[in-house]
Symmetry: C2
Subunit: 312 residues, 2 copies
């Protein structure tokens, strides 16, 4: 068994995932805790109590943390690094805390294709990791998609994070599913496993893509009233419509400016598979990278660079 | 003062508006009460107690009611009338209750342009009224829009309601505004009065209409984080994006199949004005009809026809 080297943490708004890692970023152990929203004023306590056992066995360990822990609701604000950004700039811009024992990764900002401000926090570390895990990304102009609550589409040019834009696809899905009359699956399990209805949603949107998302959404309700959909089928159809709309719109935005293939999807396997299906319907190949693996690889890279920097 | 002739009621899911009317459908008095969702099992009681004073002064009066009172959550189910439907079929298809004293107007159903089932309940009565209030609608193929929680776009051909489709634009606005992190105006007044941000939302959507609604929605949040938007501005921008998307999409769906101008907007003046702005940006003139006036005119017309039928 390899030696524990540092603690890697993905500290989002609602969840903290903490890993005990060796130098290569391989997780030797893991645990989870409260998100940034619930850790206000006691970030150090949360980290120390979760990592107490690891520190007892392995001595003092540095921690590298990414995500909302570096936001205004976090432990300390690590200001956004503007794009275009080189991956190694992320390590240099980390905020150091607790006498250099804790490092917080900054997010990224840019003016997107709509000339609007855009931000990410946490995804930059996954991109960093994906660049390391996927050799083909090092050269050329690639499109990366990180689906989630706020899906990010990022253009990477010879390893430089050039620009990105966001779509709150996961959040729109969640609030419509839970709070609208469109699905009526309230209180039930979030079952999006009706793959036929999901694919119908993908294909349905793609048939009429010119701004007709809203007009297809009503089908979730009307087809339940007509007995054509169960509530889980309506939920899957809603997911298909939204993912198709996100994908179709993103491909139009980036049309002509991405030369390399395939498109890289980074996230939970269940979600990247859904986006892979949507991309496939648009004639695009894709390559899936597990989001947790990407985050770990990114945090390990940042840790290595910080360790090198402190020795130089 | 003209003589009271009947009671007209627009009984929606969450609200009942009741009018004492003369034969022409002019409201002599009005009151309001609980919606269909809260009136379960006691519709007769609600109606009788609200109308007790009117009946005392004017003797027994017939009531004509439209809206969700005729749905599965209503007093009695008045099955949907399939399109194409002639306005006078609505009177013939009313469900009679309480020994012929109460008449419930049916909704309409159709297979829409996406070959999906679609339904309306309440709007059919407003369309009926708008056809009466707006002489120009009697001939030719017109597009009508009834904005609201579930916006309806209907095609009327020589006075026949030919087809329609729905967009849950108002509901998407409400759930995103109340339950997402996009606006953060939670608990505050629903102030959509920032007309500059609203118009920016309209124009913003129209600049990139090919399935990019989701990608613009994130600006509501990012521009607040960047200090470009207050929460009310983000709310107004959200409203602009959604109404522009609804309008643009609907015009594409109906492209080439509507010959008559202008487009008729039926609803609350505040909302129809917003849609008029969106239509104007697409080069479409519009004509606004007050939704309450349209409902009253429609209910009066149905009452007249029922009265004529009972004497023939």
């Amino acid at each position: 068994m390899s030696t524990a080297s540092f603690i890697a943490g993905d500290w989002g708004t609602s969840n903290l995932r903490l890993f005990l890692c060796n130098t290569e970023g391989v997780a030797l152990d893991s645990t989870s805790g409260p998100g940034a929203a619930e850790s206000h004023g006691r970030f150090a306590n949360v980290l120390n109590s979760l990592a107490a056992g690891w520190q007892e066995r392995h001595g003092p360990l540095k921690a590298v943390l990414c995500g909302m822990v570096g936001s205004t609701i976090g432990w300390v604000e690590a200001p956004y690094l503007p794009c275009p950004a080189k991956p190694d700039q992320l390590a240099d811009a980390c905020k150091s805390l607790e006498g250099g024992r804790v490092h917080i990764v900054p997010g990224l900002s840019c003016r997107n294709r709509f000339n609007a401000p855009d931000v990410m926090r946490g995804e930059e570390t996954q991109i960093l990791g994906a660049l390391e895990l996927t050799e083909a990304l090092a050269q050329g102009r690639h499109l990366l998609c990180l689906p989630g609550t706020h899906t990010k589409w990022a253009a990477v040019d010879d390893g430089l994070i050039q620009e990105f834009f966001s779509a709150p696809t996961g959040e729109v899905f969640a609030v419509l599913n839970e709070h609208s009359v469109l699905v009526r699956n309230h209180g039930g399990a979030h079952d999006r496993s009706d793959s036929a209805a999901f694919r119908e949603g993908l294909a349905g949107f793609n048939g009429f893509p010119q701004g007709q998302l809203l007009h297809r959404l009503f089908e979730c309700r009307a087809r339940q009233l007509a007995g054509e959909f169960t509530a889980p089928a309506a939920e899957a159809y809603l997911s298909g419509l939204l993912i198709a709309s996100d994908t179709y719109g993103a491909l139009r935005i980036m049309e002509g400016s991405i030369t390399a293939k395939p498109i890289t999807l980074i996230g939970s396997p269940e979600l990247t598979q859904r986006y892979a299906s949507a991309l496939s319907l648009n004639g695009c190949e894709s390559h899936q990278v597990d989001g947790s693996a990407a985050a770990l690889a990114g945090l390990a890279q940042i840790h290595r660079r910080i360790a090198e920097g402190s020795h130089s």
